[in-house]
């Protein structure tokens, strides 16, 4: 058996005293938390420990004694030994350090031995002899390892125990470690006892510095409560307005589920609700979530304000508005040229002339309609942009969502073309596949989901073949139109997808966690590593425990705020298949399907 003693680094040079800490049950290890210096009154120490135990919920106890004899302090041995009778324990650690040496020496006394010592206190000399022998024996069977840890880091790291986040990474052996982390974290009240205080007890442990800063934090905490209440009141008003029946009638409801601005709005509402809840965060996960949301909202708003300041300076808005209508005109003209090209013999392909003309004219008329609509809208565009730009004060995400919606609206004609082309193509493909079955004398059995043979009538065969021939010869024309408009549509979908991705990124990226990882890497611990401090033959093994920071990728994975994902849900193969058989690919559908 190996006895592990976790020893705080800050106590390395502490004056002699009592070791206060906790035995970790079942693991044969002890965590030293603080050293209480001489002189003290044992009753007070006991009282203090009980008080701390009640406050922190950790089973604190006196572990043993610590002696760092300074010059002129000698002969403490018997005194230290007697202490064990005052604080009866299963095992009593007696750790001492010589001034010149780096290593500690440790003696472990089990209870019956200490009891024996109590009984025979008068025969100190003789007992010392026997005890030494006994210790020798014990040391032979029970080795001691000192694990030095940095109390502050461990304490803070425990506040964000990443070990709890992904327990599958941490298997059985780490539970001891986790308990140790928890012990250190929970015994925070112990550390409030300041070594500069003129209390009855003096102790050494980690000391927090910078009381002033924490006062400011405290004040801010106090101030945030009414702010939170105010925000949550605003939110309740907002949600009440949203829930009025007029918004749940068909067109508005549909629109709000389609337009990304509305979706962003609902997400932001949810975020604000999380932030403004007056209860303090329970547990590390909750706290991190809140912090992440807060930081990303702040960053978002800051970026938005930056954008706004650029927009409203130097009259950028009107410049944009002036550029927009010619751009739409230009796009329309390009489309018209494309259609003209398609109506000829594009790329040397031989298309059915009549159908080609019909389709081309239909689409040309559509473009014409669209252009007149744009021109009708032209005087209002600047106003729309001006007011729309205001939304950037809510955050960059709003501005981006608005941009995405505007792109969707301005390219509505392309969407229409795509839908017409896809529907026509889809109809042809379905017609061809069923007529091809008829051609071979088969039919699709819906009930059994398979192809059965079937004897058709003469007239069915005749008309079927006639239609098959017609569809087959018209297919290339339709397919070409479909292909061209699908490509156009895909370009727009790609653009919108990039916008959505960036919005999603801002919404969900765990900025706070990432910042912690960069600045205070020990606070998100993934595990620990040990370094050998000194290994001298006579003394116990000394290890230094260092905290392994969490990997960056797992930081992102763990703390990512769950949002809708605008990534395509279909696999690439499924997407290609959908494109091939002419099924519509709604990029907006993905967001709405998330809700159900």
């Amino acid at each position: 058996m190996v006895l592990k003693i976790f020893f705080p680094q800050c106590c390395n040079r502490a004056d002699s005293g009592l070791l206060v800490g906790r035995w970790i049950a079942g693991h044969d290890s002890a965590v030293v938390l603080a050293v209480i210096h001489y002189p003290f009154i044992p009753g007070q120490v006991k009282q203090y420990i009980q008080q701390m135990q009640a406050q922190s919920g950790v089973e604190l106890s006196v572990l043993g004694s610590w002696s760092l004899p300074k010059e002129g302090q000698e002969g403490l041995e018997s005194f230290l030994r007697d202490l064990s009778t005052i604080f009866p324990q299963e095992r009593w650690l007696q750790i001492s350090r010589q001034m010149g040496k780096t290593g500690f020496t440790c003696e472990v006394l089990s209870r019956d031995q200490t009891g024996g010592s109590a009984r025979r206190s008068n025969e100190a000399e003789a007992k010392k002899e026997s005890k030494d022998g006994g210790d020798g024996e014990e040391e032979a069977e029970e080795k001691v390892i000192f694990v030095h840890y940095e109390q502050r880091k461990v304490m803070l790291s425990q506040l964000h125990p990443i070990a709890n986040e992904n327990p599958e990474n941490k298997s059985e052996p780490s539970t001891e470690l986790r308990e140790m982390f928890q012990t250190v974290a929970h015994s925070q009240p112990l550390f409030f006892l300041d070594k500069y205080d003129d209390g009855l007890l003096k102790s050494t442990h980690w000391q927090s510095e910078g009381r002033e800063a924490s006062i400011i934090v405290e004040l801010m905490k106090q101030a945030s409560v009414p702010l939170c209440i105010f925000i949550s009141w605003l939110l309740s008003v907002w949600t009440w307005t949203c829930n009025i029946w007029i918004f749940s009638v068909f067109p508005l409801c549909f629109l709000s589920s389609i337009l990304s601005t509305f979706i962003q709005l609902s997400y932001r509402t949810e975020h604000m609700r999380t932030l403004s809840s007056p209860k303090s965060a329970e547990g590390h996960t909750q706290f991190m979530r809140k912090a992440n949301i807060l930081v990303s909202v702040l960053v978002d708003v800051a970026l938005g304000v930056f954008l706004m300041s650029w927009l409203y300076r130097d009259d950028h808005i009107s410049m944009l508005a002036d550029a927009l209508v010619p751009a739409a005109d230009h796009v329309a003209q390009q489309l018209e040229e494309l259609l003209q090209w398609l109506m000829g013999a594009p790329a040397g392909l031989k298309m059915n002339r009549a159908l080609d003309q019909v389709l081309g004219r239909f689409f040309l008329y559509h473009i014409h309609l669209w252009i007149s609509y744009i021109h009708l809208m032209a005087p209002f565009i600047e106003g729309i942009l001006w007011y729309g730009g205001l939304s950037a004060c809510f955050g960059l995400t709003f501005a981006l969502s608005l941009l995405s919606d505007m792109v969707a609206l301005f390219t509505f004609h392309i969407y229409c073309f795509y839908v017409y082309g896809a529907r026509l193509y889809c109809l042809k493909i379905y017609g061809l596949s069923s007529l091809w079955r008829l051609f071979r004398g088969k039919k699709w059995n819906v009930l059994r989901q398979r192809v059965d043979s079937c004897s058709y009538d003469l007239d069915q065969l005749f008309i079927g073949t006639l239609l098959l021939t017609i569809l087959l010869f018209l297919l290339p024309t339709t397919a070409l139109y479909y292909l061209v408009f699908t490509l156009l549509r895909l370009v727009i979908v790609l653009f919108q997808g990039i916008l959505h991705l960036s919005v999603d990124f801002i919404n969900s990226f765990p900025l706070f966690a990432a910042g912690l990882r960069v600045c205070r890497s020990y606070r998100l611990a993934e595990g620990v590593k040990f370094r050998v401090l000194c290994e001298e033959p006579g003394t116990a093994l000394h290890l230094l425990m260092e905290i392994n920071p969490l990997k960056f990728s797992s930081v992102v994975r763990t703390y990512r705020t769950p949002t809708y994902s605008c990534y395509p849900k279909d696999s690439w193969a499924a997407l290609v298949k959908k494109l091939f058989i002419g099924e519509l690919i709604y990029p907006w559908r993905h967001k709405t399907t998330k809700t159900d």
């Binding site: 009549a354 008829l438 008309i463 098959l468 021939t469």
Partner: protein, 294 residues
């Protein structure tokens, strides 16, 4: 013939497994393979009977040739579409009358199709074909002529291969569809919409209705059937000869080889047939079990 250690007992060997017999496992008895039978239920073909059956194939070949001849005439403007239409109409009516005559001759009650249904079908054919003929005309405009010809040739070949020669009465889906596809392709090459319409009506007569009539004819008067087959073959060869001599020679060669040489080969090869039967054969279900279901 006994295998190793055949016993000399007087116990006869029996072909049973449930009894332990005093013979080794690899014992071969006198009765080994006694249930073997050869060429059981083989059909003896007579040459002329086979020729008569095979004439249907030659006839179908000639039908395709006749259709192609009509198309050639139409394409060259030697045949006015109106003429073809009227001829088709007359032929169709004549054929319908004959068909009805044969039907009433055999039995009238089994036939469930009414005249009204026939009329409906005819109206459907005509209206659809007429309505679609302008569309059909522009259909293959931009496709090159060679492609159209190749496609038609492949489809006509598919028609000939997949034609149900055993029982042509309900024309097989694939064969009829292939023929119709080919005729649509060919018809779309003609100069006018009316040409297309006439050509398609002609195709309907030749590929869809004529086999039905022929089947009736074969059932009712086998003698006339042979005569009709000979007539169609001559007509096909003659018609093709008026357009291309080489084609006619090829066609006549094909018809002769299919109707006379192939049966000869079959009858000759039949003598070399050696089929083994025995108790191991998979039993065939000879009865018609579908009546239990329908």
């Amino acid at each position: 013939m006994g295998a190793d250690g055949a016993p000399s007992q007087s116990v006869p060997w029996r072909k049973v497994l449930w009894e332990r017999q005093p013979f080794p496992d690899n014992y071969v008895d006198q009765r080994f393979l006694e249930e073997l039978r050869r060429n059981e239920g083989i059909r003896e073909y007579r040459y002329w009977a086979v020729v008569k059956e095979a004439s249907l194939v030659g006839q179908q070949l000639s039908c395709v040739a006749i259709f192609i001849t009509f198309w050639l005439y139409m394409e060259q403007g030697l045949l006015a579409p109106e003429t073809l239409l009227w001829t088709s109409l007359v032929c169709g009516l004549l054929g319908y009358g004959l068909y009805q005559a044969f039907t009433s001759q055999t039995d009238s009650c089994s036939e469930t199709r009414t005249h009204l249904a026939d009329l409906q079908s005819a109206a459907l054919f005509l209206s659809f074909t007429f309505g679609f003929s302008p569309v059909l005309k522009t259909l293959t405009e931009s496709v090159s002529t060679d492609t159209v010809y190749a496609m038609s040739a492949v489809m006509l070949l598919a028609h000939l291969v997949s034609f149900p020669y055993g029982e042509p009465s309900p024309p097989g889906s694939l064969s009829l569809n292939a023929a119709l596809f080919a005729s649509v392709c060919l018809a779309s090459r003609l100069p006018g919409a009316l040409h297309t319409f006439a050509m398609l009506s002609c195709a309907l007569l030749v590929f869809a209705l004529w086999p039905c009539l022929l089947q009736r004819l074969r059932e009712n008067s086998p003698l006339q059937f042979t005569g009709v087959c000979v007539g169609v073959c001559t007509g096909g060869v003659g018609g093709l000869a008026s357009q291309s001599l080489g084609g006619a020679v090829l066609l006549s060669l094909a018809v002769v080889s299919v109707t006379f040489l192939c049966p000869l080969l079959l009858v000759w090869l039949q003598r070399h047939k050696d089929n083994i039967h025995g108790p191991w054969d998979e039993a065939e279900i000879c009865e018609d079990l579908s009546h239990f279901l329908h």
